[in-house]
Symmetry: D2
Subunit: 149 residues, 4 copies
């Protein structure tokens, strides 16, 4: 059962809207919010104490996206300062579930909310498990030494 | 109530995966599926008999995205031929709801499914209504002449 | 005659490489350097005392790209901290010429150099002139009041 | 010495401008032309008889971009049909040099011209040589069996 948003710990990071991210409607193109979610996940990992880049390069595990959802409430504009708030909804050693809030930093207005679900995969993109040393970052109990990977 | 997928008429269009669309996992980056959904919508409009570009430039109406959802089932790779199948789930003169199937053209494998919801907006990005002459494309009954916009 | 790089004043801004910016070669896709140049230009404007967004929205002038050039010397990787250094090579009230250096912030290594040339355009994308109040930012002499726009 | 444009054989491919490719100026964002150049290169390889994807996956050789240049002559708009014309300027087994013409398909108007230079690299992104079996595609003489790679 996903925790209530109020209970969730959100990690914040900031971005400034790039010209490249706008479209001819004069607002940020909708697919770019998923890029911002990814920026939020990277910041979340860093805040927890590890680099996502290392999980890939050293431990050969990927967090493949299985599902993404975004609700757009108000547009974002070029040069706006944006706050990306990222929370961990739920994690097992096979599936990670994040949620996001995209806000205008100056006004505090909520621009979008979203969620992504990820499956842990190995280098061949087959389902795998979170390496033991990453379990603590996702709030999972340590596994005993007999549970070798 | 959304129609059953079986009843839906899907409009198909094809794309070839670009190098720019891949990421360092060696597969298509997840946000690009929303770009493909948009390519699908444009093809859907064309198949119905109008250009989305004209709805914007001539009639000053935009289909702003209010919600987007994608479920990723299998990865897409560089140079893959992709079929984007776009169906209209439901339409009013204020809200349009599309669904999508992304398939590998050669194998027929379903790679992803998705949905987007759009609100009709005017040039100031305020909620508006579909111009009368577009109603028929979305399966809406003609309005009588007394119902001026 | 473009000034020597040594004489140029460079404005610096920083970015962190996004996963979305990588490609299946495992490095940043080459077109993204032009996006970074744009981020550099926006930072340059801010450092000079104005917002590029305002030049568009308030003064209805655009800096349309007429030419872009990039030399790639070493790859950039996911999560790298990047320094974008932007300098003004030359400006008239019709043509603006910028140059860029892209460096790895941690190592200081020069990853790429580039240049862009822009023509001042009006809302109809026709050649125009820099509004008077922006001349000083580009090192151009003030025009006398009789030179009305 | 690069050949005259007139002598060059151009391979043509077509694309339709995506909404995602526009920016708030209402035209195609300048970095996307480099994506189109890449689409042109992939079409060129296919026309010559091989898949660039295979050169990477089977032969472990990459064509890393060393330089890119684009001159923008007229804007491209959403839903425009674009012709990308790609020619090989010069090739050695270490360096490949392409040129491009971007045209509006309906009007024939030249929108942009460009060039890219690539170095052949191995999986570690170190300078390498074109595998022998690809030499013919780039107009290079066959090497004798004694010239082992």
């Amino acid at each position: 059962m996903p925790k209530n948003d109020v209970e969730l710990e959100f990690i914040e990071t900031e971005i400034n809207v790039r010209y490249a991210e706008t479209d001819q409607m004069g607002i940020v193109y909708y697919a770019n919010y998923l890029v911002w979610f990814e920026v939020g996940r990277v910041a979340w990992c860093k805040a927890k104490g590890f680099h996502y880049a290392e999980m890939e390069s050293t431990d050969k595990r990927y967090l493949m996206v299985a599902e993404a959802h975004c609700r757009y409430k108000a547009p974002a504009f070029f040069e706006d300062d944006i706050t990306v708030r990222t929370g961990l909804v739920r994690a097992t050693d096979r599936v990670i579930h994040y949620c996001y809030q995209i806000c205008n930093k100056s006004t505090g207005q909520l621009l979008a909310t979203g969620e992504t679900k990820h499956v842990v995969a190995d280098m061949s993109l087959r389902p795998s498990r979170l390496p033991n040393r990453y379990r603590k970052y996702f709030g999972l109990p340590e596994v005993k030494i007999t549970n070798y990977e």
